[in-house]
Amino acid sequence: MQVHVSYSNPVPLYRQIVDQIREKVLSGELAPGESLPSIRQLAEQAGTSVITTKRAYSELEAEGIIVTRAGLGSFVADLDAERLKAIRMRALRGRLSEIVADARASGVTDEEFLRLVREAMR
């Protein structure tokens, strides 16, 4: 499993790792039950600190995407279609609220924003 982080990306490093692993799970590149590299292995491979990687794994655990078994390591959780859908929806909601905040901050009204969404969906 390859994870690449960018130090010039304003998104915090642990979030970059979370987003990439979540995406790999959602796309099926990582299958349910598949084992993940250890925190230290992933840190070495991605060139990030151990604490950053640890934070990313805790976040993924909190989201229910991975599970960690003491002494065995971390695995992709057993996710059924319904759970996968819920995770995808949550990820989309997160991205959307950022866009909405952006739009509001730059003076775009909610009506204008909704029009943009409808246009994009056409």
């Binding site: 070495e44 060139g47 600190s49 604490i51 905040a101």
Partner: protein, 340 residues
Amino acid sequence: MATATATARAATMARGSGAADAPALMLSGVGKRYPKFELRDVSFALPRGYIMGFIGPNGAGKSTTIKIIMNMVRKSTGAVKVLGLDHVALETEVKRHVGYLGEEPHFYEEVTPAWLGGFVGKYYPTWDARLYKATLERFGIEQSKRVKTLSKGMKVKLGLALALSHRPELLILDEPTSGLDPVIRHDVLAELMSVIQDERRSVFFSTHITQDVEKVADYVTFINDGRIVISDVKDDVLARWKRVSFPLPLRPEARSASDPAGLEAGVAEARAKVEQAMRGALGRAFAAYKIDGLTFTGITCAFSEDVAREVGHLAGTRPRVLPVSLDDILVAIVRGSEAC
């Protein structure tokens, strides 16, 4: 009870790791007075299994601190514990478990790496000659070439191989990457990451090249003028320090003023309003700021949603918040602002 403790202690010593749950390195209130420089109240701790980057400008006290840890310079005050052991009272024990690479390693120039391994290895009960040979091979250093034929980068790698081959639990490196080309710097950093694959092993390294710390370090400690300014989890430091910018809050009539004088007066008014706010409570969250034309840019060391909201209130719009590098933080610290 006393016997049980003694047995446990003996077992710990036999395994050679000092007190197993003690931090890899702990300094408390360490001081050293020189005629023209003083190291004051240096305190920080590095938990086991992690990498700490020790950052500061030249002359800040990085090397002095490291030499104190290694008992090459005698401290005036304070305590230093390495793997839970006093660094002076148990110096021999401590040094068996520490790998050290000084700022400018001096080797006998006429000898070969193979000879050096034999020489250094005699001092360490845990010396692993096979590991030394394998590390040299991995680093591309010929065992039988004389040291004087090696480049600076190769000498640093040789020093690293020598420091690693007794399988130390704590690696202490003084400016290991300084003056190296990017490829060798990368190799050295990769080596540090591979050391802590074993979660009982730790690395402490000083540098003025903050990019190196930005990548591999779990903890950062900033030193300036002999004093510790920050010592914390790197990710937490980077979450607190942010660059914040916003356009000056011009009143609508100034924005739409048709004459340049009206606009100028509006800008001066907005500028004064921002400067006044910066002299107040909000200003204490900022290490530095500047107003360039119509844009405010500041570096805060206490970023939070509250600060963002307060700045937003002042600016009349949500400010842009961007990450800063450890370099930016170092510059802000050295420039010495009152706040932060």
